[in-house]
Symmetry: C2
Subunit: 327 residues, 2 copies
């Protein structure tokens, strides 16, 4: 389909919002959310008109110790059903499956037996064929599929074009995501990527999505920039909860979108009642200078997460170390 454009007053009915609070936020607390929290989040998303809610990862139990993570790293069918029942709502349910870290055969059951609607395959640019295999497996099982190309800020245009062409040609792939894992991209770059991706989208009938990180306080700006250029699946999280600097916040995104089906009030209520509690309990995420610095240098935020965790405010020392280690 041709990418749609909008104005600041009209709205595009093709735009869909995905809540990734438990999945990306799970990287902050090792997925230890209470059932009560997840249930309230689910109800808030339903009320807010959010289109998809991602419950977590389908991580391999061979590779990851189930005793070392909360259950949303694994997203068993029963875990999800204990929250949503048969999910008789308009909200669709999503899980993420990492290339090389998922046991498809055991963990992805037939869609007819599952409340999950969408499986999003997370891949780096160099494992696209494996990602396509996974999407094909999930599509054959009956799911919607997405392939999310992570850390795209480190990939060359040539590689991205080739990846898009491969993904475009696969009938099993419904959506393709731009993922700015390092939060290093500026709107100008998002614009160029959005144009490349939506070109493929138009050619092969794929939906294009945006998943942003807030290292440079650009998650929201980049998300709406992508929207302006035809991207239509938008990831957000409550209070921006997500690894390191976090993501585009749901309260910002729904405050911006003009489709009357989206309601800001349930989001505000959830943030004040539940998200502030997580902050008060000591969970740390959101924009901070160390994340800005890894963003500027376009490197993985791991050292910044470490720096913030240690309450190290020697920003200059950290920056110099980053240069030595990463550049």
């Amino acid at each position: 389909m041709a990418p749609q454009m909008g104005t600041l007053l009209s709205y595009r009915p093709d735009i869909k919002v995905l809540d990734a609070t438990v999945r990306d936020g799970g990287l902050v607390n090792s997925f230890y959310f209470t059932d009560e929290f997840v249930k309230k989040l689910y109800l808030a998303n339903v009320k807010a008109g959010v289109d998809y809610m991602e419950f977590g990862y389908k991580a391999s139990k061979e590779l990851f110790d189930v005793d070392k993570f909360g259950k949303w790293k694994f997203c068993d069918e029963d875990s999800i059903r204990s929250i949503v029942g048969e999910n008789n709502t308009k909200l669709k349910i999503s899980v993420m499956a990492d290339v090389g870290r998922t046991d498809l055969e055991t963990d992805i059951i037939d869609k007819k037996d599952s409340v999950i609607d969408l499986v999003r395959v997370a891949t780096y640019i160099n494992t696209i064929p494996a990602a396509i295999d996974m999407a094909e497996y999930c599509k054959a099982k009956g799911y919607e599929t997405s392939v999310n190309i992570m850390a795209v800020s480190t990939a060359s245009d040539k590689d991205i074009r080739q990846a898009l062409e491969l993904l475009g040609q696969s009938a099993a792939v419904d959506m393709i995501y731009i993922v700015d894992s390092y939060g290093s991209m500026y709107p100008e770059q998002i614009r160029e990527l959005a144009e490349m991706y939506t070109e493929t989208g138009a050619k092969y009938n794929k939906v294009i999505g945006m998943h942003a990180h807030n290292n440079q306080q650009m998650a929201f700006a980049n998300t709406i920039e992508a929207t302006t250029h035809g991207v239509s699946m938008l990831d957000a999280t409550m209070l921006g909860m997500g690894r390191g600097a976090g993501n585009c916040s749901m309260e910002q995104l729904l405050g911006f979108l003009k489709n009357p089906k989206y309601k800001l009030a349930p989001v505000l209520k959830f943030v004040q009642d539940e998200m502030l509690k997580l902050k008060a309990e000591g969970l740390v995420w959101g924009y901070d200078i160390p994340y800005l610095l890894t963003g500027i240098l376009n490197v993985h935020p791991r050292s910044a997460i470490d720096c913030v965790k240690k309450n190290n405010t020697d920003y200059l020392g950290f920056y110099q170390e980053l240069w030595d280690k990463e550049c």
Copy 2:
């Protein structure tokens, strides 16, 4: 002059950066900065290659009680000189003068007797003729001048065009600023404004500037968006210090600009040594949800400042009140 455009790798020598920490940040602490702080800020700006440093307001002592504000609300010549001496550096010195709140005749002395280089006149769209009078007075005294049109998000295109035409025709006005006082604007809107302003700039040989607020975490994004569309005077503050949600942060801006004369290290050092101290002492500024909500509704942040000061986290209640009061 024709507005210049750049790429993400090159740089535009026409771009200039103005540090407004003491001036906009003074709205957070009633201008009670210590001399030591201001001196260190001055030295950091000099080292960082910042082009202008704004020391505060030239507020009327008839209208404002000098015992109720720090000295940077008034910016006496002696106060500035006690920090900069003769200012034998490349850094230029700026002050802000509000329309209707400044005693030009007593407080703006001849440039030859002053270390001040630039007087920025702050005006609303309905007092442009008064602003031009002030700019003419200051220009006749020998200063560079700017007219900063505040709260431009509430003005109509027609009024803005008329204001720009008036300002353009005045030979006394060197610079014209886009000021998003409410932090309510999105990059798409900044783009349109930047095009309107730079058109006037090109026609009448005026420099165009951008002063952003961070209510929607858009201060940096909007500042670089403006830059992309030919705006060349960019305001920023250390750690984004400024009224309410604050401003575009200097560390973000200098981390982005490619002109090798700009150095990030002195800024990081100043932020970690001095700005974190202000935070630790209890000064509050920066992005928070109440500011997001006044930003979304395009209203003055005063009620959000109040809400944050009271530690009121009933965002939904605050939002509903805002609607009742302001919409």
